[in-house]
Subunit: 226 residues, 2 copies
Amino acid sequence: MIGAMPEVPSDTAPKERRKRLPSGERRREFIAQAIEFFAENGFESSTRDLAKRLGVTQPLLYRYFPSKDDLIAEVYSAVYVKRWKPEWEVLLADRTRPLADRLRQFYREYTEVVFTRDWMRIFLFAGLKGVDINIRYMGLVRSRILDPIVAEARAEAGLVDANGPAESDFAWLIHGGIFYNGVRRVVYGEADATDVGAMIDNAVEAMLTGLEKMRAGEPAPKVRSL
Amino acid sequence: MIGAMPEVPSDTAPKERRKRLPSGERRREFIAQAIEFFAENGFESSTRDLAKRLGVTQPLLYRYFPSKDDLIAEVYSAVYVKRWKPEWEVLLADRTRPLADRLRQFYREYTEVVFTRDWMRIFLFAGLKGVDINIRYMGLVRSRILDPIVAEARAEAGLVDANGPAESDFAWLIHGGIFYNGVRRVVYGEADATDVGAMIDNAVEAMLTGLEKMRAGEPAPKVRSL
DNA sequence: CAATCATGTTATCGATCGATAAATGACGGC
DNA sequence: GCCGTCATTTATCGATCGATAACATGATTG
């Protein structure tokens, strides 16, 4: 049946009839499309629908991935690991600039990655599925982002000792507020009109003033760096 | 087969062998258990597993609900509608008390409802499923909670005109931060150790000071109420 | 041009899904 | 104590799921 009617074989088009891609290229295409597919429809969607979207047959997926779960693991890796920018940690630690500047730039870059439909939805799907990768990711956010922010804020105020747990919690509060703004935008389709940059500016200011107030009850700094 | 071995009919126990509950009572039990079941396993879980948890057979569900989607709709209603407390709106508008007090009490009561495993997970599952009920719920939060908060803050400062969109956005930021704290607690199992009350107190203070700063650039109030 | 091998498809299995029809059995009214 | 009503179970249907085996085909190489 299929193939009997050649459905207008456009000679100009790349003639991408239906076959023969090199292994690596095909695999990359599978993962890239699987990200969007699972982000949109959830991980419980069928491999047949994914194959249909890819324009191949379903068993072909199993030539590239041993099981559906292995494909999903590749999706996780592509989204979580490969979109994390190590330069963020460098940026946050750059004491030649005021911390407020660094935070504004960081959250602009961070939201550019995270405030996307596939990142957000895959994060939420994975979280509800109970996979450990989300917990590890939040550990990364704490250790590489939030704790450094608190430390930088203390350093800018002339304090050198360790962070208190309350400060870390407050940084989580603002960070979570920013993140949830992305959830509202991307998952619920709200807040499109409002400006991300303005939201970030207000959030950064609230974070810094909140951290400052939180340090008010502490003893005066013994060493002033500047 | 079943019934041939009475599997130790404990005479002391309520002898809940396997049958005959009045219709209304059975229906309520189904919905109550379906909330926990779907919250834990997602809405794509099978009706057979739900029936097993309930100790009944799967077709019995279809005598009480026309379809699985109808049962899910009942779950939504039970979680979203019936756990919303109208007195929250009264509390927030009670101008005999300082706004900070009202906010601290409100968020303590609100998180008592929302920071539960089934509420949180059903909210997130429903959001990813794309059902409109979540969008309507967030409209409720804005109109009954956040906009009133902004209005109360302006009133306490002696302003009487309408809210600006930036203030509403900032209220969403802090509210989202509180909500996301619940996600971390309930969904990801983090932050159990830290105190919810302390987090709320810091969040309320940040919200009020943030709103105050946001009004700083505006013209002076023409009418002072007190 | 024929042999080879990796890519891709066809066909199909066993399990599980939501849902329906028919049989069963517990309980109250008489 | 029988009887009918209605809650509940047994049995089953058609669709869909992940996965596997067997077959087909295009490209490469000698």
